[in-house]
Structures are given as structure tokens and as C-alpha cells.
């Protein structure tokens, strides 16, 4: 039997080789398209008699999906030239995978919601009509009313590639009752990493929490914020905005201090940690604060809406939730935006592109942004949205909703707080999280972990750049 199998597997291999040579090659590289932004056909809708049908791919889960559907319905019924259909692609990553597959199959949406760090890769797909073109063609002047930080994030070499839409930032969530029990001032949440440590010690020593003072979700996003706050970029070449990023820029005081602090917290039993990549533990720290195991954690401001819903159910009598500004090493810099932006496809017809632009303008009007912020808890990315009564009422009721918005207004607007642009972003995130792991278990020093993170991340950047011919 085995001998027979050997013979056959050998012939299998031969036939596979044959098939490869006989079948048409895949390598045939198409001629690269000319660089330079294409024009945006904003006037293509003028002669339209029936509504232009366009599709947007998004990833909003339940409550947020209803909020985007509500806005879209309002848009569809507000005019008769454009009709938008939403398709839920379940997660940012599945959506991006499907988008990349669509580059081959031709099944692309007219508008795609891509998470913040997908920017460089979206540019490299050469399938995006930069909204800058539409802004220019349409003489759109409202950009000055946008959150500066949000516009800067999606601007590379002076071109705004996508319309920021759902904007978020990390904030500190903490349990005021646990703070009181530990003898801490419940209205003075920690503002620096050192204060987190001090408060965690008190929380644990007093028995106000059962597991640890702090839940550290190991997400490089926070680390990027600490760098930005201290005016450090995350990658070189002006955070990837003057030219393609080729190296991470982590070997500085903030990088070292951040790694040392994280290792210290975890090894000292003051923090529990979990990998943000792991979908099964994404909510662990918030749950921990809820059931009294933890005193505080850092997570996205976008979670606040659902957290409040849970708290209002009355099931957590021992929790009085506080929301504080993201603690950070002290510095004059600012935080960068998170969340996602909307990209217009360059492969769509002129009419559809014009339709997409109309839709994006609607979604980013002050009224829409205020409504979306009230419905979801995302940060409104228009300054004038803040004057809309509904949002003012909401913020008066729950001041925590305002914290993330203020975070993005404060601090210097520079390349560091604009945030990094690089590819491949999942590879770099993974490199950093992988390098941090051993320092949490004490296998390596924070210094060695940082060095490993830098070298692995740099090789990821180099590999990606070499494949896009950068």
C-alpha cells in the first residue's frame, strides 16, 4: 500500500507541475495606473431622472447598525437622486478582506467603511477616489468645521483620502465606588501612568477590588496615544505622512517608559492583561470592572453607550461608572483619532461617485453627526454638532460622553497627534503585541521586548513596502 501511494503521489506532483505550466499564468502584471488624484465628477447627478443606486459596506453591530440605517433612511427620503443600500460585512477585517477580494472579482461597494489604520493599504489598492477631489470640485468649504485631528488623520501629503465618520478615542473607565472604598477621591481619576500604578496599589491593598486595580487590554492603539501625547511619532517620515513609513520610531523615553510600566503593572499583580486581538476576551476588562474584580481599565469611548445601558439595568449595584481622560505620560502633544472613515471607490461610475459624495456630505453634516453621536456614543466630528440641542442634552445628562471629544481638541496638532500611516497595519500590531507577551510573564525584560518589537515591526514594514514597490 505505501509503495503504491508513493508512486501515485509522485505522479500527482508531476501532474500538478504540468497543470501549472499548461494553464495560463497569473503573473501577467497589469500596467500600473498613473499616479495623481483623479477628478471627482460632482456634477454627474444633474441629469439623473431616477435615483442612482449605491451601496455602502459597513461593520456596525446591532444598535449602531440601527443608527446608521436611520441616518441612511433620512438621506434616502430627503432627496430623489440617490438611494443608498447598506450591507453589513460583520467586522472591519472581514470587510477589508472582502474588499481586497473585490479588487479581483469586481464586486466592490461604492462606499466602504475602513478602520483608521487601513489608510495606507487603501491608498495602495489604487481603488480609492480621494474625497479631496470632491471637496475641490464641489467647492466644499465645511472642512474647517471638522475636528482638526480627524481631518489630519486621513490626510497624506496634503490629500484627504477618506471622509472621517465614526470617530472614537480611548478613555479611562473606572468604578467610583471602588475608589471611595479604597480611600481615593472618586472625582480625581489617575491622569498619568504613575498615578494608575499608585491608585491600583491602593485599590488592591484596601480590598476594594478582588483581582487587580487595572485591566490592561494590550492594544497598540493606547501605546500610540502615549507616544503622540509626548510628541513622538509612531513611524518615521513624519508618521508616514511625508513619505512611506519605513521604520517604527519607538526607541525613545516614552517607548521605554511605556513598556517598563506595562511590565511592572502586570508582573507586580497590579494589572491583569489580555490580548486585544483575541476576540474571546475583548470585553474582559469591562466585565471585570462591572463585577468588582477590577477597579479601572482603558477602552474605546465608543463602548460607553452600551456600558450605560447595562448599568441602567440595575444589575451592578456596586458600580458607579466614572469616565476619565486617557492617562498618559505627561506631555504637550495631543491624542489621535480612532474609529473608521468612509472611502469612495474609484471603480464606480461617475454618477455613483457623485451620489456617494452627496451621501458622505449628508452623513457629516452637523445635524447627522450630532444624531449619530447621541445614538451611538461616537465622537461628533463636527465642531458645530456640539451646539445641537439633542447632543447638549445628552452630554449634560452623561458628561462622560464629552471626555473623548475634549481629548481630541486638546494638545498640539502636529504629525505625532495626526497619527501614523503605514502598512501592513495588522502585521505591525501583531509584532508589538507578540513582543510584549514575554515581558508580562517575566521571560524577557521590557528593554529586550521593546527591541524585539522594533525589529519585528521594521521587518514587517520592509516586507510590505518591498511588495508594493515602495
Amino acid at each position: 500500500m505505501p509503495r503504491r501511494l508513493w508512486q501515485i503521489s509522485a505522479s500527482l506532483a508531476i501532474s500538478a507541475a504540468l497543470i501549472t505550466t499548461v494553464l495560463p499564468g497569473l503573473a501577467g502584471a497589469a500596467t500600473p495606473r498613473a499616479a495623481g488624484a483623479p477628478a471627482c465628477p460632482v456634477n454627474a447627478l444633474q441629469k439623473v431622472s431616477s435615483p442612482v443606486q449605491i451601496t455602502m459596506w459597513h461593520q456596525f453591530p446591532r444598535a449602531n447598525e440601527q443608527a446608521i440605517q436611520k441616518l441612511t433612511d433620512q438621506f434616502n427620503s430627503s432627496q430623489n437622486k440617490v438611494h443608498v443600500t447598506l450591507v453589513n460585512q460583520t467586522t472591519y477585517q472581514d470587510l477589508f478582506n472582502k474588499y481586497v477580494a473585490g479588487l479581483s472579482t469586481g464586486d466592490l461597494p461604492d462606499v466602504a467603511q475602513i478602520e483608521d489604520e487601513g489608510l495606507q493599504q487603501m491608498i495602495d489598492t489604487r481603488s480609492v477616489l480621494p474625497v479631496q477631489s470632491c471637496i475641490k470640485a464641489d467647492h466644499y468649504t465645511e472642512l474647517s468645521d471638522f475636528l482638526d485631528r480627524a481631518v489630519r488623520y486621513y490626510t497624506v501629503k496634503g490629500v484627504l483620502w477618506a471622509m472621517p465618520f465614526n470617530v472614537s478615542a480611548p478613555v479611562l473607565y473606572y468604578n467610583k465606588k471602588a475608589f471611595t472604598k479604597a480611600g481615593l477621591d472618586p472625582n480625581q481619576p489617575p491622569q498619568t501612568l504613575d498615578q494608575i500604578k499608585a491608585d491600583s496599589q491602593k485599590l488592591k491593598a484596601s480590598g476594594a477590588v478582588t483581582q487587580a486595580g487595572f485591566g490592561l487590554k494590550d492594544d497598540p492603539w493606547y501605546f500610540q496615544q502615549w507616544l503622540a501625547k509626548t510628541n513622538n511619532t509612531f513611524v518615521n517620515n513624519g508618521n508616514g505622512r511625508n513619505g512611506r513609513a519605513t521604520q517604527v520610531t519607538l526607541n525613545n523615553a516614552t517607548g521605554q517608559a511605556s513598556f517598563a510600566w506595562m511590565a511592572d503593572m502586570v508582573k507586580g499583580g497590579l494589572a491583569v492583561t489580555n490580548d486585544y486581538l483575541n476576540p474571546s476576551s475583548a470585553l474582559n476588562n469591562l466585565l471585570g470592572v462591572g463585577n468588582g474584580n477590577l477597579g479601572m481599565t482603558i477602552d474605546s469611548s465608543a463602548d460607553l453607550g452600551t456600558i450605560l445601558q447595562v448599568l441602567q439595568s440595575g444589575q451592578y449595584p456596586n458600580v458607579d461608572l466614572g469616565v476619565g481622560t486617557l492617562p498618559s505620560p505627561p506631555g504637550s502633544g495631543g491624542f489621535r483619532v480612532g474609529g473608521a472613515a468612509l472611502y469612495i471607490s474609484a471603480k464606480s461610475s461617475p454618477q455613483k461617485q457623485a451620489a456617494a459624495w452627496q451621501y458622505l456630505k449628508f452623513l457629516n453634516s452637523a445635524a447627522s453627526q450630532a444624531q449619530f453621536a447621541v445614538d451611538t456614543g461616537y465622537i461628533p466630528n463636527r465642531k458645530s454638532a456640539v451646539t445641537v440641542p439633542a447632543l447638549q442634552t445628552r452630554w449634560a445628562q452623561v458628561p462622560g460622553f464629552r471626555v473623548a471629544y475634549d481629548e481630541l481638541l486638546n494638545g498640539a496638532g502636529n504629525a505625532a497627534s495626526a497619527g501614523p500611516v503605514f502598512g501592513d497595519y495588522l502585521g505591525v500590531r501583531q509584532a508589538i503585541v507578540d513582543a510584549e507577551g514575554p515581558m508580562f510573564t517575566g521571560t524577557t525584560s521590557p528593554k529586550a521586548a521593546l527591541a524585539a518589537a522594533i525589529s519585528k515591526a521594521n521587518s514587517v514594514l520592509a516586507a510590505y513596502n518591498s511588495r508594493v514597490g515602495g
Binding site: 500500500m1 505505501p2 501511494l5 508513493w6 503521489s9 500538478a16 507541475a17 497543470i19 501549472t20 494553464l23 499564468g25 497569473l26 503573473a27 502584471a29 497589469a30 500600473p32 495606473r33 477585517q93 478582506n97 481586497v100 479588487l103 479581483s104 493599504q121 495602495d124 489598492t125 489604487r126 481603488s127 483581582q211 502586570v266 499583580g269 491583569v272 492583561t273 489580555n274 490580548d275 486581538l277 483575541n278 476576540p279 474571546s280 476576551s281 474582559n284 466585565l287 471585570g288 463585577n291 474584580n293 502598512g423 501592513d424 495588522l426 502585521g427 501583531q430 503585541v433 507578540d434 507577551g437 514575554p438 508580562f440 510573564t441 510590505y464 518591498s466 511588495r467 508594493v468 514597490g469
Partner: protein
């Protein structure tokens, strides 16, 4: 063998004609499956041989660069690949034998003439109705450090189980064993029930004790089933993807980064079809080699009763 010798007709020509017709029918019957395989398995797999020779761009429309065997050498020589292969082997070792043993244990216990046994059988077989996705949601919750059970039992390692470099792989293995237990139970029950009663009775008459009957009679007669389960189980274990994707995403520190997951991340997270192609070919050859090894060494010990 199937052509009956006694058939009439002019010996040479008629026989040849019948042979041709038989061959024609043979091809006709396998044609539907062969067409599907050619289009959706062989053809896309064969493309890997070409992709492996190029440094491929992340997105279509950018040029590929011919690099010959360099990429193959780079990938197969990398510590990432060796590590991933080791994790895959470890995962198979954690899941396949344990799955067979537990299935056998349950099958042996359920193979008694007791009232209500049908209920127990249904329960033991029940996990067949779950899927990898379902088992992952369930065990992701059961092993969650903040959700009820484990902290209540006083089990809370730091880092938490699924984030723990030591425990993550065994934890995913446990979820896998549970999910495949129903199948293993069904396979072993089927095998056990095919063990002839008279042989066991004869052994009993000869004075063999119950454990002796189990080891000396049942196990040898069951060996074809165990063999089949081991071979097919290993092939599937080497293709584990879903539970890794849903429970650990290959982490922490790549401790659960099995080959198929590695391939998929190269393909989907990093848009690198070249390295994914090299890894796919390697996975195929390794699985093939493993199967051949099993055929060679395990099958010798298999006792074919009939």
C-alpha cells in the same frame, strides 16, 4: 476481477470491447467529482506552485517579481514556520489520541445492556450537532476569566487561560476534543458493536477477566476503527483553523499559531499570496507524508478480522 469469466462471445475482440466500455463507464462515473476537484481543488492548488516563485504584491494591479526558489527557502527556513509546524504537531498530539481514548471510553460504557441506555448514547453523541464556531463561543465563555465559572472555582491563572502562553493551546485542544467527542463516540460505538459476541463469549468461557477480554479481544478487533479514526483525525487536526481564529487568533506569542491559521493570516491579514502558497504546499506535503507514515507503521498493528 468484476468481469465474469463465463461470459460468451468471441474471446479476444468482445473482451476488449467490454473492457473499453467498462473503462468508459468508469471515467463517466468519476467525471462529475473529477470536474469539481479539478476546478476547485487541483487548479487553485496548482497555482500555488507558481505563486511560490514570485514576490507578490498585496493588491492586484501591482507588478509581481520573480524570485525563484528564494521565497520558498526564506519561508521554510524561517523560525516562524518551524514554530508553527511544531505547534500543529503538538495540537494534533493533544487532540487526536485523547479524542480516540475518550470516545472509546464512552462507547465501551454505553455498550451495556441497561435500561435507558439510548438516552446516554444520544447525550454522548450530542456534540456532533455543534460546530467549531459554536464550540468556540461556548468554551470562550467557559474559560473567560471574568465570566462566572472559573474564578468561582478558584482557577484564575495570570494571564488568563486563553491569553496564557502555557495554557492557551491545551485550552483550544480541550474545546476541540469536546466538539469532536460526539463523532469519536459514534465511530467507536460503531466499531464496538461490530465486535462479534461469540468471540467475547468464548474468551469468557476460557476464563478471561473483563479487562483481559477488553485488551485482548475488543481492542484488536477494534483496531481498524481506531486506525481509520487516527488517520482521518490527524488529517483534520492538521487543518485546524476555526477554533484558533475564534478563540486565540494564533496568540499569545504565536503559541497557537497552527499552520492553517498561519496560512490564512498571510493571505488575509498581510495580503501575501506568495508566502501563503509556499506554506500551503508545505502543509499538503507534510499531511501526505504523515498519512503515509501512519499507513506504514500503524496499519501493521491493525488486526483485520475478516
Amino acid at each position: 476481477m468484476t468481469v465474469t469469466a463465463g461470459a460468451s462471445g468471441s474471446p479476444g475482440a468482445a473482451k476488449a470491447r467490454r473492457r473499453r466500455r467498462e473503462a468508459g463507464l468508469g471515467f463517466l462515473l468519476i467525471a462529475p467529482a473529477l470536474v469539481i476537484f479539478s476546478v476547485f481543488v487541483f487548479f487553485p492548488f496548482a497555482k500555488n506552485f507558481e505563486l511560490a516563485l514570485y514576490r507578490n504584491p498585496p493588491f492586484p494591479g501591482l507588478p509581481s517579481k520573480f524570485v525563484g526558489l528564494q521565497q520558498i527557502g526564506d519561508v521554510l527556513g524561517s523560525s516562524d514556520f518551524r514554530h508553527s509546524l511544531w505547534v500543529t504537531v503538538l495540537f494534533a498530539l493533544l487532540t487526536v489520541p485523547a479524542g480516540i481514548l475518550l470516545g472509546l471510553l464512552l462507547a465501551q460504557l454505553a455498550n451495556q445492556r441497561l435500561r435507558g441506555m439510548a438516552i446516554y448514547r444520544t447525550i454522548f453523541a450530542s456534540t456532533v450537532a455543534t460546530s467549531v464556531a459554536v464550540a468556540s463561543v461556548i468554551f470562550g465563555t467557559l474559560m473567560n476569566p471574568q465570566v462566572g465559572l472559573l474564578p468561582w472555582l478558584g482557577i484564575h491563572p495570570t494571564p488568563a487561560i486563553l491569553d496564557n502562553p502555557t495554557w492557551a493551546l491545551p485550552a483550544v485542544a480541550l474545546a476541540t476534543i469536546w466538539q469532536t467527542l460526539g463523532l469519536s463516540f459514534i465511530l467507536m460505538s460503531a466499531g464496538l458493536q461490530a465486535v462479534p459476541e461469540d468471540v467475547l463469549e468464548a474468551a469468557q468461557v476460557d476464563g478471561a477477566s473483563a479487562p483481559m477480554r477488553f485488551w485482548r479481544v475488543t481492542i484488536p478487533l477494534l483496531s481498524p476503527t481506531i486506525f481509520f479514526t487516527a488517520v482521518v483525525g490527524s488529517i483534520f487536526a492538521f487543518q485546524t483553523f476555526g477554533q484558533i481564529d475564534l478563540l486565540t487568533r494564533g496568540g499569545p506569542q504565536n503559541k497557537t499559531n497552527v499552520l492553517t491559521y498561519f496560512i490564512v493570516t498571510e493571505l488575509h491579514d498581510h495580503q501575501n499570496p506568495g508566502t501563503a502558497a509556499v506554506l500551503s504546499i508545505a502543509l499538503f506535503l507534510i499531511t501526505l507524508a504523515l498519512t503515509l507514515l501512519q499507513l506504514r507503521f500503524l496499519e501493521r498493528r491493525v488486526h483485520y478480522a475478516r
